[in-house]
């Protein structure tokens, strides 16, 4: 909302600086985004009159304008479509400071040759002057402006650009802002007089209003003006419209725009002669009903669109756009002026459905007080009369089915103290509220009953009143304290800390954390599958997805991580190690989806090959497994790895990670089919762990074991076993001997040196007793027993 200071001064005396005023408004919830001093840099911008408009010799869309500046006449090249001989315009001489209409930057106007013609200045638009963003065509000034005078003599002002929060639609008006200034600076608010001269003929005799949809239209006011004399509005009105970024058009339009800016109430004028049956009906559209709107489009309505109709047909889309048939034209003799209140929801739905949005509709969408309609109707009618735009009929037709009882809200000293921590007397509280226009009653001691003023919508409970007190007192005056209340019991979420521990271990092992989107497409999900459809339960779908790529809620993390690897490989990254901890969404019947947290790690097999020493080894299955084992060890978890059947992984080189018969994850080499689908160039290795399960397992405290006090003994043995015997089986067998504290495989061989179908495994066994230093002889004896056992179990023999 752009508000000129000069206009605000009509309702309130301002003796503080613009900066201080802006700071006060901002603090009270009306953020002043910008203070623009217009005219300050206009020392080379004059009032000119267009004497002639000729076509540019070398360009179709440009014209040559001769402009009279009083002392001299200059020719400029101009591209504006609305340039008309006789118009008064803002003319900038070279050297003037202007806003570049395309870039928005402030620049000095340079002399220019455009298509072979020298341009001796520029005819400005609002944007170039820095008044508004309008850049279509040039700004046409009131005829009263004197040729040769500086523009700043007429339009210099301070413009506040204020961001109004959704609860304060009343402040989308000059009067609303002025009321705030009055309260914040302790000055009285000066309400303009709304009286006017009326003719004998009554509005009631001209039209009747019927509201058939009172839920969508709480109030409808109408006045009528006869003997319309169209003409320009006076300079003071045009100046204010221009300063607020609106273009003056013709008196009756200017008045409705002026009152919309002043009171915040949108108004609409109908050509009375086109209203059939002297009747206005506010009703829902019948399904499929049509009408031509002002923009000459035929509109088709559904039954939830609110229409203004006469006895026969629709004449306007309520609060959004007028109908073409009842548009006010040059020959209009009588206008019917509408000042109505429509529900936020009705206008919001209508604007969305018709893809139409206007200044009026956006104001209705923010919610206006029905009380406003009456005052705005009176003001607009008064201005019509004052401007000599016509003769005003007597009275106002006021249909007000949505009238509500005035209900007070109570506030006591205690309420302010317990919400703000600020101890104010009841008198001080009352003073704050009264300054904002609230009526206060004190039926009993210690409490105020406050009634909200007619322009406010947002004061409905004690907390609302407390906010008003805080705003007027100043948020800066609220003291500082540090929560003296007792600390809560319980621990909060330990999963948060656990997840962070997982991240730190991953990072320590060289993995980069990534975060991917949880939405995806069926196409991407299918990339993981061996069949043409998706594995597992169908994923949840969005009702209103933003694009086909973001239509489904993911049921796995890996597809995101794989995509990130592919993307980075395209950027020529190598040696990629990624991990993500995020949620997957598993649909459930009649409930929110189950959100499981998964840790997914992904490793490529490309290593930097330009190192000058021994080259690093490319990753393989055992690298990925090593990462998993280290991560789990950090959580105190020692799991089993059994051949797995994950569809995304190579069936010969993947494992399910099992703890206590529960599958907690997978690890393996990515299936070549999946690699190809994701366009990943080399082998890659992946693991996934269920974070929720890890958290449950790791939640148990580790059990302390005494640190060994006696030295251990190491013995190496090389065994020859059948090729099918897995490492796991031998280790399990060895671990049955309690004296063996550790088994390390240090060599594995299959090939020419050993018989066909056999393999050689060399282990280092660490013997450790808790109560004595082991002697060689004792260990020799045990090792014999072990060999006998392995020979019996697996047919193992010592390899010589």
């Amino acid at each position: 909302m752009k508000v000129p200071l000069s206009w605000l001064k009509e309702y309130v005396d301002v003796d503080t600086s613009s900066e201080e005023l802006a700071q006060k408004l901002t603090s009270a919830g009306l953020e002043v985004a910008d203070i623009k001093v217009t005219g300050g840099s206009w020392d080379k911008i004059y009032i000119g009159q267009v004497l002639a408009v000729n076509p540019h010799p070398n360009a179709d869309r440009l014209s040559l304008a001769t402009v009279d500046l009083g002392t001299r006449q200059l020719t400029v090249v101009c591209g504006a479509p609305n340039l008309t001989t006789g118009d008064k315009v803002a003319f900038a001489l070279t050297g003037a400071t202007l806003v570049n209409g395309h870039t928005g930057k402030v620049e000095e106007l340079k002399p220019a040759r455009i298509r072979g013609v020298t341009s001796e200045g520029m005819i400005c638009s609002e944007k170039e002057l820095g008044i508004a963003d309008n850049h279509e065509g040039i700004l046409v000034l009131p005829q009263e402006y004197e040729i040769g005078k500086l523009l700043s003599d007429y339009l210099g002002d301070v413009i506040f650009d204020i961001e109004v929060t959704p609860n304060r639609a009343d402040c989308l008006s000059v009067m609303g802002i002025a009321r705030e200034i009055a309260a914040l600076t302790g000055k009285p608010f000066k309400m303009p007089d709304l009286s006017y001269q009326e003719s004998e003929k009554t509005v009631e005799s001209m039209v009747s209003v019927e509201i058939q949809a009172p839920d969508l239209c709480p109030r409808y006011c109408a006045t009528a003006i006869e003997d319309i004399k169209l003409g320009p509005s006076p300079k003071w009105m045009q100046d204010r419209l221009i300063a607020c970024g609106m273009r003056p058009i013709v008196n009756i339009v200017d008045v409705t725009n002026y009152v919309m800016l002043e009171f915040g109430q949108p108004l609409h004028s109908f050509d009375y002669s086109q209203i059939k049956g002297k009747k206005i009906i506010v009703r829902r559209a019948s399904e499929g009903e049509t009408m031509y709107t002002l923009d000459e489009q035929e509109r088709k309505f559904t039954s939830d669109i609110l229409l203004i109709a006469d006895a026969e047909r629709p004449v306007a889309v309520a609060g959004i756009m007028g109908g073409l048939a009842t548009e006010v034209r040059d020959y209009t003799r009588t206008i019917l002026l509408e000042s109505a209140n429509f529900s936020q929801a009705a206008i919001h739905k209508g604007a969305l459905a018709l893809k139409l949005s206007s200044e009026a509709s956006s104001r209705y969408e923010k919610g206006l007080n029905p009380e406003l309609t009456y005052y705005a109707a009176k003001r607009a009618t008064q201005l019509m009369a004052r401007l000599g735009a016509g003769t005003v009929a007597k009275g106002i037709v006021d249909c007000y089915p949505g009238r509500t009882e005035k209900r007070p809200v109570s506030i006591a000293r205690r309420d302010v103290k317990r919400l703000l921590g600020l101890d104010l007397s009841l008198t001080e509280i009352e003073k704050c509220l009264r300054s904002l226009g609230l009526e206060c009653e004190k039926p009993e001691t210690g409490v105020i009953y406050a009634f909200k003023p007619w322009w406010r919508n947002d004061i409905n409970c004690t907390a609302d009143l407390v906010e008003e007190v805080a705003r007027v007192t100043g948020y800066d005056n609220i003291p500082l304290s540090m929560l003296s209340s007792s600390l809560p019991t319980g621990q909060g979420s330990r999963l948060f800390a656990f997840r962070q521990q997982l991240r730190e271990v991953m990072v320590a092992m060289g993995f980069q954390e990534i975060i991917t989107y949880p939405l995806t497409s069926l196409e991407v999900l299918k990339k993981l599958s061996a069949k043409s459809e998706i594995d597992g339960v169908a994923p949840l779908k969005l009702e209103n997805s933003m694009s086909r790529e973001l239509e489904y809620l993911r049921n796995n993390i890996r597809m995101g991580v794989l995509s990130v690897m592919a993307r980075n490989q395209r950027n020529r990254e190598i040696h990629i190690r990624l991990f993500e901890i995020s949620k997957v969404f598993i649909p459930r019947t009649r409930d929110l989806p189950k959100e499981s947290e998964i840790l997914c790690g992904l490793i490529d097999s490309v290593v930097p090959d330009i190192y000058w020493q021994v080259k690093p080894k490319p990753a393989d299955f055992y690298f990925a497994k090593g990462v998993v084992q280290a991560l789990l060890a950090r959580c105190g978890i020692y799991a089993d790895y059994l051949p797995g059947e994950d569809m995304s992984l190579n069936p010969s080189r993947s494992a399910d990670i099992i703890y206590n018969k529960m599958k907690i994850g997978v690890v393996g080499e990515i299936h070549p089919r999946v690699l190809a689908n994701f366009d990943i160039s080399e082998k890659a290795f992946m693991f996934e762990l269920d974070v929720d399960k890890l958290f449950t397992i790791a939640g148990k405290q580790p059990v302390y074991k005494a640190v060994p006090r006696y030295p251990s003994l190491a013995r190496d043995i090389a065994l020859l076993v059948d090729a099918e015997v897995t490492y796991d089986k031998i280790v399990t067998a060895l671990k049955k001997f309690n004296i063996i504290s550790e088994v390390r495989l240090f060599d594995l061989y299959e090939g020419k040196q050993v018989p066909e179908g056999k393999k050689s495994m060399a282990f280092r066994l660490i013997y450790q007793a808790g109560d004595r230093t082991l002697k060689d002889e004792e260990v020799d004896g045990i090792q014999k027993q072990i060999l006998a056992f392995l020979s019996k179990e697996f047919g193992a023999t010592l390899r010589s």
Partner: protein, 345 residues
Amino acid sequence: MLDQIEEVVSQANAELQNISSFEELEAWRIRYLGRKSKLTSILRSLGDVPISQRKMVGARANQVRSILEESYSSRKATMESNVAVSLEHDKIDVSLPGEPFQIGRIHPTTRAINEICGIFSSMGFQVAEGPEVEWEYYNFDALNMPPDHPARDGFATLWVDYHTPTGTRPMLMRTHTSPVQIRSMEKTKPPIRIISPGRVYRYEATDATHEWMFSQVEGFAVDTNITMADLKGILFEFVRRLFGQDRKCRFRCDYFPFVEPGVEIAIDCFMCGGKGCRLCQNSGWIEILGAGMVHPDVLRGCGIDPEVYSGFAFGMGVERIPILRYGIDDIRLFYSNDLKFLNQF
């Protein structure tokens, strides 16, 4: 006795010639010069020597002792210089590149969340988390957002294709972390102090300053006697710990449906020091947090009596912190996962 001394000398000298390590040298020193050395025992048994010889034997023993000590130090010096010479031969080019060790990094969003939650944890707040797919009730209704609030539009919120028998669509991707307030207050009775980080989603066209997925941290406290002064104190302290002790804070009225009175907290711009620049859009202030006193209707809806209890709530965008700190000019970089971006933090 003298013969014994001479024997020690010749034996010691012979041994010393063959010593090659510092360990052997030390053993030699203990053997011939230590408290239990032969020489020491000879000196100790001087009382048994006839008085006539005692003086001479004692003098010789002491003389031998200093000779051996000298031999020891000279041998030690030689060996040390030998070591220095051999190390000289080992000289390498220390400017050659080291092993290409891979390091990982935590995502800048996670880092910021940890930092924020860490500060609030130290002020007695506990971490709580909620689902990312939510019921409309928790995301909107319970937070005092009217049924026709524009945030509920299909052009603002991502709705999940899930229909109840009555045809309503109550499931959505949460648009803020505020539903955790409701879930926590339904479960726990005051005193409550919660900090809740998480991802949130909007129906949004993306550009350099807009992303449809981002992160928030929500915090709130409910108890008897919690005032806006507490909110101001806690958040000012938070801002100073996050952005530095010299930062100035602005505490102004703002509007959010689920708080009343509402507050916005901004810090003075650290690029321009408050004079106005591109970063702060010429205002001199950078908005950091939205906050306020929990709306009485919200408390009531969770079964907490607003006449007895009061509370404050605040929320902040997480990505904003690294964006401001590192001068990142495009929010889309956070979740496009380009390693050349992630590698920088």
